[in-house]
């Protein structure tokens, strides 16, 4: 599903040392981004992280203070939005309210002087692709949010842009429709092989659709990688905390052996892979994902070779397919373990003494 076949090694979009300030605020701070041709690339981060500004600079609506923007190796830094071969899908669609669907979708073709016959045909084709065949004569206000979204998509794609820029396009849709549209967007991207640059603050959305994700914070790119890399090997506590949930802890290295280091916690211990230069006495920031923590009887941990701590179940939260266990570990604090509800370990109740354990590789060292 990830890494669609149309991704090539060619560079589609290159942001080179881009900085953009608005008055005193540094919106984008010395950002370098390389987006490959045909890639589904997401800019993910909280509001104010610079993701939308970065996208708007690719489109040409904002001009970077420093740095250059290359589209297919051509420097477009100084070009107007109308001169760049990229098209944008706006957060609230920005459909022209006084035009019907056909005229909306046709707008770009008309501007670039495509003949009427070809225009009509290409509009029909693209409406087929976004699954709105026969909607040509409808007015935007007669369409549902999801349909308006598809028209916005068609209006951009019909121009066969070298890249499609999407600014939180699913933000205004309800959850169910959003899930459907995620898969559909991904499918359309895969079929057309167009480079998609997708801005979102929704980590699930980014994980679902992207070939690669750039996680942004405070105007900087924190990490770039595939969804799996980002989730399983976060390089900073920001990335780890922003994507998925997390049990964070301070890991005070008391012992070193080969490439591991660890500390004792009551009768148990937490161990992690650490760099060679980490000396005994150093305190690291570490974390473990809730779904990695297995629960077992107090004397018989599931992963005896990994980290093992013992504590008391404080609370059990049933979420349908999954259950969350809040386990109080003396000397460490609270750990949250996420288990499938149908598994045997889900039988634990509040007040039970349990061992919580996880494999060595699943202790994430963040800083």
């Amino acid at each position: 599903m990830t890494a669609s076949s149309s991704v090539t090694s060619e560079v589609g979009i290159h942001l080179k040392g881009i900085t953009k300030t608005f008055g005193e605020v540094v919106a984008v701070d010395d950002v370098d981004i390389v987006i490959r041709e045909g890639e589904f690339y997401s800019l993910l981060g909280p509001s104010g992280c610079g993701k939308t500004t970065s996208l708007r600079m690719i489109a040409g609506f904002e001009v970077p203070d420093t740095g250059r923007i290359l589209l297919r190796d051509k420097d477009v830094s100084g070009d107007l939005p109308s001169k760049r071969n990229v098209n944008m899908v706006f957060q609230h669609y920005a459909l022209f309210p006084h035009m019907n669907v056909e005229d909306n979708v046709m707008f770009g073709l008309r501007v670039s002087g495509v003949r009427k016959k070809e225009r009509v045909q290409r509009v029909a084709e693209i409406l087929e692709i976004v699954r709105l065949p026969g909607f040509q004569k409808r007015k935007p206000f007669q369409l549902s949010g999801g349909q308006q979204q598809r028209v916005a998509l068609a209006r951009a794609l019909v121009n066969r842009p070298s890249a499609l820029l999407l600014d939180e396009p699913l933000g205004a849709l309800d959850v169910k429709l959003r899930r459907e549209m995620q898969l559909e967007l991904k499918a359309i991207q895969h079929d057309l092989g167009t480079t998609f640059v997708y801005v979102t603050h929704d980590q699930e959305e980014a994980l679902t659709m992207s070939d690669r994700i750039a996680v942004m914070n405070l105007g900087r790119v924190e990490q770039v990688g595939t969804p799996r890399e980002i989730y399983e090997h976060p390089e900073s506590s920001f990335v780890a905390g922003f994507i998925g949930s997390l049990n964070a802890m301070d890991l005070k290295i008391q012992q070193r052996q080969d490439d591991t280091g660890g500390m004792t916690v009551g009768e148990g211990w937490v161990i992690a892979r650490v760099d060679a230069d980490v000396a005994v006495g150093t305190t690291l920031r570490a974390a473990v994902r809730p779904e990695r923590i297995a629960l077992g009887p107090a004397g018989a941990p599931v992963h005896p070779d990994g980290s093992v701590v013992v504590g008391t179940v404080e609370e059990v939260i049933y979420l349908g397919a999954m259950s969350l266990f809040h386990v109080d570990i003396p000397g460490l604090g609270q750990l949250v373990s996420q288990r499938m509800s149908h598994e045997d370990e889900s039988a634990y109740r509040t007040g039970d003494r349990v061992s919580a354990s996880w494999e060595l590789a699943h202790t994430l060292v963040l800083e």
Binding site: F61, S82, N87, L95, F96, F107, S112, P140, A172
Partner: protein, 293 residues
Amino acid sequence: MIDIATSRWAKWVLIGIFVFEILFLYAPVTLLYIFSFNEGSVVAFPFVGFSLNWYETAFTNRGLLLSIRTSATIALMSSTASIVVGLLMAIPLARRKFKAKTPIMALVLSPLVVPHLVFGVALLITFRSVDVLTNGFLEFPLSLPAVAIGHVVVLMPLIVLILIPRLQRIDAHLEEAAQDLGASGWRTFRTIILPLIAPALAAAYVISFIISFNEYAVAVFVSGPVTTFPIFVLAELQVPVRVPQIIAISVVVVTLSLLVVVGAEIMRRVFERRYQVLSQTAGLLGVADADTE
């Protein structure tokens, strides 16, 4: 939250306002309609008899007809000019951010607070000064264009005030979308902005036309030899026997104005219902507000 409009005392206030309007706005106009058909030459009850004589007299009065043509020409010139200038001013004031916005806005709207009489005198002095200062080289004849220029000054703030709210309601992303699709600034204006503000433009045009047509205070100073409709009417009213025909022509003017205003309003509603421009913008913004945070 208390709904002021439905509270008990508010109801009586509203009824009071309604009665006031009936008494002092609609009743006098209705009286005009009635007396325009009165055969007698004294504008007072009792009603002597029904007649269309005064209409006939009015429509054969060359001076009167000429003044109407003059005023219509001035209104056409001044409202056309002020709609163009007003639009050019309203667009940046409504849609761009710049430092001097507040002082410029104040400057644009200032004619609203200058009494027309004062402005009329000032304009007269200005025109005369141009004449004198250039030693007669630049002679500015007091006539039709002079009145039109005066009216442009009077009308422009009104037009700006009508257009700004409408322009502000157009989602800025629509312009960006058009440019993103390759449209130039002019094309964006012509194909997106202009159609969306067309109803407001039409309304502004109609209102300015009517205001210019009826304007007296500025016109009386700078009109020179030409006689506009209000100037003519005021002069005629000095002569008692001519009053009835003035009433007849006033009825015609009032009726036409009313028809035009009502027609413009109907057209605006039809347009907005057809495109649901307003409700849609509001709807989308509503969704946006609820969803972004």
